[in-house]
Symmetry: C2
Subunit: 105 residues, 2 copies
DNA sequence: TATATTTGTAAGCAATTACTTACGCAATTA
DNA sequence: TAATTGCGTAAGTAATTGCTTACAAATATA
């Protein structure tokens, strides 16, 4: 089973979970309350997130608090940022194109 | 069918395709040569990439050249970069922790 | 101690994914 | 005109995904 960060953040529910626990450390039930799907479904999402290293669990009694491992997101950042120069220069190219277009009117 | 950038870049083959055509505009066969999978498989990957707006096709005779729409990657960048402050500060926290650890020895 | 709460996990299921082979079509080349 | 080239797409398939309900285990509370 492939278990990398890219696959983990592909699911919109998991991205929402990340967003939720980015600000507050929550236990599983508290997370599940924010979604329409069942509690086990969230449990399985959390499992995916822990398996790829994006989330770590801190057990406290019967509660399992979820902490994001933000550094893992750096992997995604690194991949996407290598293209930043491309898309900014492309926007520049579009700009000049539009300017040229506007002038020709 | 969900067709967003996050789902598109979840597949490692598609990320490789992106990397390939980031530098040179290639036609489909030229792309497929770089992979072990069949030509139709690559054709289907390209379809996913075009459907989410990450790739645009320029037809030239029977050749279909693939151009990345880098701006689409800005969506991913925007999402991940919102957490950058978190992961850098977390690294800082780790640093101080390690320093404290080193001192206590 | 009995009950309630928080959770993992198993089993089942429909939908999706990533691939294959087979085919057809349009554009080029001989 | 006939053969070749570049490609999309259909059909089939095995594996994976995202969900459900049902159950069990551990911890907390009455």
């Amino acid at each position: 089973m492939r278990r990398d960060v890219f696959q983990a953040i592909a699911d919109p529910t998991r991205r929402e979970i990340i967003n939720l626990i980015a600000h507050n450390t929550l236990n599983l039930n508290a997370i599940a309350e924010n979604f329409d799907v069942s509690r086990p479904a969230i449990s399985q999402h959390i499992k995916v997130l822990t398996e790829c290293g994006l989330v770590e669990i801190t057990q406290q009694g019967r509660d399992r608090y979820c902490n994001i491992q933000f550094q893992k997101l750096a992997e995604v950042s690194k991949w996407v940022e290598q293209y930043r120069t491309f898309w900014t220069s492309k926007l520049d190219a579009l700009e000049t194109h539009l300017l040229k277009d506007a002038k020709s009117k």
